[in-house]
């Protein structure tokens, strides 16, 4: 099956109506970037699930980060996307404008250098992410330990995917398995999820033609109702056992715990926290469960795939990429941001 045959099948698909969900922010961005929605029959609906780490972060976390930023002894270090996410009273961007020292970095390794050169401040890294980024944070902690750098802490909001997929699986006919997460964790847990939930899973790459091939495969599996199925179409990067060294690094610094997800509440054992023996590196990441959305914002339903972005009453009027109200409009991996990018006259 070549690209044009697969594309032709998807455009003319006339089988049962399908709701296919992607749960990886990079897939969401790749689908939009390649114009894939325009290539599908109107019987195939692509639904964006909880695959954007910034979007599933609760407001308690943002509030705690802002409180830490107010202490002049602290310097907050973050990736860009988190800056504009609204907490219950303002965002990091606003805290920065009021004088808090908040910096962007491109890679966590930069923090080691910053902290080493400036022992008078505590560098607090906003460690948000899934299984994919956890090994990077583990490497950072390992570096801090090795170089005896005491002025680094992480405020973690680290989550693991399978539990969240179970929560949102109602009414979904097939999943594109999270590609980057699977690179680390391997295929086994997705194979198991497929048989447990009785829906097909396809592991996909990120290029346009890879996404088309995966959506084609998923459609062929999903058109037979109630059948599971599992295909790894990204074997060059995703192995059955994943990246064992990365998994071991994560395990040596992090342990499982309950985590609060925006829109889904607390999901048992779906979080990763710094192990108690390294708690001196934790900036207070436990028990951040409170979540208050701005008035009218329906991010919760968008994240869980229950509401298309464009059906939120704030979408495109009050909430735009220039003036985001909810986290889904802030992040470049968010469902609303990506919908806005492809919506005429939103």
């Amino acid at each position: 099956m070549n690209l044009s045959e697969a594309a032709n099948f998807l455009k003319n698909y006339n089988g049962r109506e399908l709701r296919l969900m992607e749960v990886c922010g990079t897939h969401t961005a790749g689908i939009v970037q390649n114009g894939i929605p325009s290539m599908l029959s109107d019987r195939i609906h692509l639904i964006t699930g909880p695959g954007c780490p910034v979007c599933v972060t609760v407001t308690d976390y943002i509030d705690r980060l802002i409180n830490l930023a107010k202490d002049p002894a602290n310097i907050i270090v973050t990736f860009g996307d988190l800056m504009r996410v609204p907490g219950s009273a303002g965002s990091l961007t606003q805290a920065k404008a009021s004088g808090a020292d908040i910096r962007y970095v491109y890679s966590p390794a930069e923090i080691l250098k910053l902290a080493k050169e400036d022992p008078g401040h505590t560098y607090i890294f906003a460690a948000v992410g899934f299984e994919t980024t956890a090994p990077v944070y583990a490497a950072l902690l390992s570096g801090a330990l090795e170089e005896k750098i005491e002025n680094i802490k992480l405020l973690t909001s680290l989550k693991t995917m399978p539990q969240a997929i179970r929560r949102v699986s109602d009414g979904i006919d097939g999943f594109l398995a999270p590609g980057h997460v699977a690179v680390i964790t391997g295929t086994e847990e997705y194979r198991q999820l497929a048989s447990e939930l009785e829906v097909p899973f396809v592991v996909s790459g990120f290029k346009g033609e890879e996404l088309i091939a995966s959506i084609y495969a998923l459609t062929r599996l999903a058109e037979r109702e109630g059948k599971a199925g599992f295909i790894n179409l990204y074997p060059q990067a995703v192995k059955e056992k994943g990246n064992e060294a990365a998994k071991a690094a994560t395990e040596s610094f992090f342990e499982k715990g309950d985590a609060a997800w925006r829109g889904m509440g607390i999901i048992p054992d779906s979080g990763l926290y710094i192990r108690s023996e390294y708690k001196k590196y934790d900036a207070g990441s436990h028990d951040l469960a409170g979540d208050s959305e701005p008035e009218g914002c329906r991010c919760r339903e968008v994240i869980t795939g229950k509401l298309p972005s464009c059906d939120c009453p704030l979408f495109g009027t009050v909430c735009t990429p220039e003036h985001p109200v909810g986290a889904c409009m802030v992040s470049q991996e968010g469902a609303c941001f990506n919908s806005a990018k492809t919506t005429k006259n939103y």
Partner: protein
Amino acid sequence: MRRDCPLAVLNIMADKINKTHGAGGSATSELIDSIFREAFSNEYLEPLSDSAVLPLPAGKKLAFTTDSYVVRPIFFPGGDIGRLAVCGTVNDLLMSGADPAYITAGYILEEGFDTDDLKKVVASMADTAKEAGVQIVTGDTKVIEPADIKEPGLLINTAGVGFIDEDIDISPARIKPGDAVIVSGNLGDHHAAILGCRMSVKNNIVSDAAPLTQMISGLKDAGLDIHAMRDVTRGGLATILNEFASSAGAHIRIEESSLPVSEEVKGFCGILGLDPLYMGNEGKCVIILPDEEKEKAVEIMRKSPYGQNASVTGSVSCGTPDVTMRTAIGGEKIVSPLYGEGLPRIC
């Protein structure tokens, strides 16, 4: 530029910039004499008076522009802040149809900045000005506390004037359905080069910072009827085309497969999740002209050393005033302008 002490040239220049260099006294004169005066030497600068007094050509309109340059690192593959400061202002003048003539150079130096590095930046500005066919005719120097004491640098402001023939009218309002969209070369090079430096990613990507004087003169000399023209800087091609579509009240459609992007930049963007459509260049432009002139325009642009990958990438039609793209795999999508901060500041 002022010179208070005629003997200052005899002093030996300090190896780091200090506050006295911006105080307007003998150290400032020494700096001007030993670094700027010689490098930029021309008849309008030489009197070193409070203003440069310039001749005005008869029957021409004046184009006037300014821009500030704050890029870090100061030296990067393919250029430096000085080359950028000349190219940016020269290209802005060119895009309005002007022949760039004179530019100014305002330096805000951070205390502790290496004097040899300043000399390199100034020499690069002088070379670029020569290449672009402009003269640096007046300037200013101030010294401030460094933003980062470990890495003192400099900021540059340039303003420029150029002259436009009375009959030239280049503006987005002239864009018409049926026009062709031409991009002068590979997108994203400058942006990727700067980002690569900041992230310490080893690659072969080189900034495209360049003055487009020769290329644009070629197009004008051939008598082509350029409707609109813009240099592709911050915000990228996507943002410019959206502005064009909205000013012209017409639809612009581009083809992903005909967008010039180098393999290195494609790879770099793939890894970092960036899109070349939103990345800045410092030596590329987009030109809109009648469809029947497109082949001629591309031929002329490709003769310039900075236009070898020029290509027709889209067309203007009646319809909603927005931008769409046919993607390489055959999808259709809306191309939005750049939203938010998106990417780090690059110029």
